[in-house]
């Protein structure tokens, strides 16, 4: 049920007016308007802003690690080992006398790299496999989805462990292993989404225009699936960070002396009773960043998911 909308808003000049103009004069303006309205909806949710703030902080921390770090993250100083948080060492020092704050700041780079690389590998792979399976159907669908089932039937960490065991330990291999465990849920989601739109009239219309299957999948089906894939991968980020930390904790991910948060937590565990900050500081960092991605994912769902509105 729609009713006529009265808009008695006073006219504004400049950018705001351009973003809200009734008459759109360029594709760029159309896109900008859409983004602006989405942003207004996003910004009206305080939790969304907190999530976004955390993620932006992580990015800034990673970029400006050399500037915000107070010490060299690798410099050992055995006479300053296990110092509690203080003015000189904001978050204390570890068992080799390294400054924990500086290590966390540099560790943000590793975390961000894991997150980005996993997202860049898993999201397109899952999206492609899911949409192809959903749109083509038939034996292609059966084959691809059984492959997904196989991947999904192992817990993510176990599967990642298996991959790392096969590929050898190290950060790059850990990322590949995590990405290989992260795509199947994305594929399944994209397939489900594809199944709901493949019979839509607008897909029929573009088929009638003579479009190839590839064109339909890439230009018409994928744009429909992308919002939910972005939401899912953002929500999965927390899990990915935890898996990465878990691999680091088990000594299979980033290798010492690299300041990976999971590995820091792992070494800190041995000193937990006497020097709680060794384990607590990287632990809090993991917690906050996971929370940030979860909040962001929830908020994106509210903004991007058309069914919610």
């Amino acid at each position: 049920m729609t009713a006529e909308v009265r808009t008695d808003r006073p006219a504004h000049g400049g950018l705001r007016a351009w973003l809200l103009a009734e008459t759109v004069t360029s594709p760029a303006q159309a896109r900008a308007q859409k983004l602006y309205l989405g942003w207004r909806r996003f910004a009206s949710n305080p939790l969304a802003l907190i999530g976004l703030g955390i993620v932006v902080t992580l990015i800034l921390l990673a970029i400006f690690a050399p500037l915000v770090a107070t010490h060299d993250p690798f410099a050992q100083s055995l006479d300053r080992r296990l110092l509690p948080p203080s003015g000189a060492h904001w978050l204390g020092t570890d068992e080799l006398g390294r400054d924990i704050w500086s290590r966390i700041a540099y560790g943000a780079r590793i975390t961000l790299m894991i997150v980005l690389l996993v997202a860049l590998i898993a999201a397109p792979l899952g999206l492609l496999i899911g949409t192809v399976a959903g749109y083509l159907g038939g034996w292609v669908d059966v084959a691809l989805m059984r492959l997904v089932d196989v991947f999904l039937s192992f817990p993510g960490l176990i599967l990642a462990l298996a991959f790392v065991a096969a590929l050898g330990s190290g950060l790059e291999n850990a990322i590949i292993a995590i990405a290989l465990t992260a795509w199947p849920p994305i594929a399944r989601l994209a397939r489900a989404e594809t199944l709901t739109v493949r019979r839509a009239d607008y897909i029929a219309a573009v088929r009638l225009a003579g479009a190839s299957d590839l064109r339909i999948i890439v230009r018409h089906i994928m744009p429909i699936c992308i919002p939910s894939v972005i939401i899912r991968i953002t929500l999965n980020m927390a899990g990915i960070i935890l898996t990465a930390a878990g691999l680091g904790f088990l000594g299979l991910g980033a290798q010492p002396p690299s300041p990976e948060w999971g590995a820091m937590l792992s070494t800190g565990r041995a000193y937990m009773l006497g020097s709680w900050w060794l384990a607590a500081m990287p632990g809090i960092a993991i917690l906050v960043v996971s929370l940030g991605f979860n909040l962001l994912g929830d908020a994106l769902r509210d903004v991007l998911d058309p069914r919610a509105s």
Binding site: Y202, A204, A205, A209
Partner: protein
């Protein structure tokens, strides 16, 4: 009369298999002359939309033969057919891609067929369907139902086809908007010398638009009538008469066989 633009012989479409096999279209033949408006009328599930999906090439699982503008309709995807026959769908809310602007939707067929002068073509069809160029960059959710249907018609026209298949093009619209769209379809047909196949359940729309109409029931064509015959109530089949009388509205006296059919379920 010149050679027919559309010629369909013994078209059969079935869905499912074994016990649940349904003959959605069960041996239908018809011809449509150049510039004619041919109506297909019937109740839901009678097979009228299924015929459109078969001859448009959307559904390739059918038997029989069909030619449009002298070209046999293939049983596989045939991109060249896109420039001969296009379709307008019933639901203006489901027939436009929600993430594409009007321009993107209209540009897509041009890109697929590698045509030149894309911007000019878009201007031309938008003017033709009565939308100002300001609509170019609108998204579907910014348009009313009638405006969306105009965009859908523009999209069908942009490849300059000879035949338009209209699948209940106004049944989701308010009557005042329906009048605008029907007028638009009449104007376009005259200007572009198009041939229409119009599927509808509304005898009023059929009588207003068509030259001839075929009445469908359970996948078969019961009879073909000229509009003259329809308007004067000269039909042979009781079922046609029943539909015809029902379309006039409610009447307490009218006793129909549909009561029986529905009650027997």
């Amino acid at each position: 009369m010149s050679a027919p633009v559309i010629s369909v012989r013994d078209l059969r479409v079935s869905f499912g298999r074994g016990a649940s096999l349904i003959h959605a279209v069960d041996g239908v033949s018809f011809e449509v002359a150049e510039g004619e408006v041919f109506g297909l009328v019937g109740e839901s599930g009678c097979g009228k939309s299924t015929i459109l999906r078969a001859i448009s090439g959307l559904n390739t699982e059918w038997t029989g033969s069909a030619t449009i503008a002298g070209r046999p309709v293939a049983h596989r995807r045939d991109p060249a057919m896109a420039r001969i026959v296009q379709m307008v769908f019933q639901d203006p809310y489901g027939s436009l891609h929600p993430k594409h602007t009007v321009e993107t939707a209209l540009m897509e067929p041009i890109r697929i067929h590698g045509l030149d002068n894309g911007a000019r073509r878009i201007d031309r069809v938008l003017t033709e369907v009565g939308l100002s160029p300001a609509f170019r960059y609108r998204y579907p959710h910014q348009l009313s139902g009638g405006q969306r249907q105009r965009v859908a018609i523009a999209r069908a026209l942009i490849l300059e086809p000879r035949v338009l298949l209209l699948d209940e093009p106004t049944s989701a619209l308010d009557v005042s908007v329906q009048a605008e769209i029907l007028n638009l379809l009449s104007d376009i047909k005259r200007m572009e010398n198009l041939t229409y196949v119009l599927v509808s359940h509304d005898f009023g729309v059929i009588a207003h638009m068509c030259d001839r109409v075929a009445v469908m029931n359970h996948g078969v064509m019961l009879e073909e009538l000229t509009i003259e015959d329809l308007m004067r109530g000269r039909m042979r089949h009781d079922y046609t008469r029943e539909l015809y009388e029902a379309s006039a509205g409610y009447s307490r006296r009218l006793e129909t066989r549909a009561d029986e059919a529905d009650a027997a379920a």
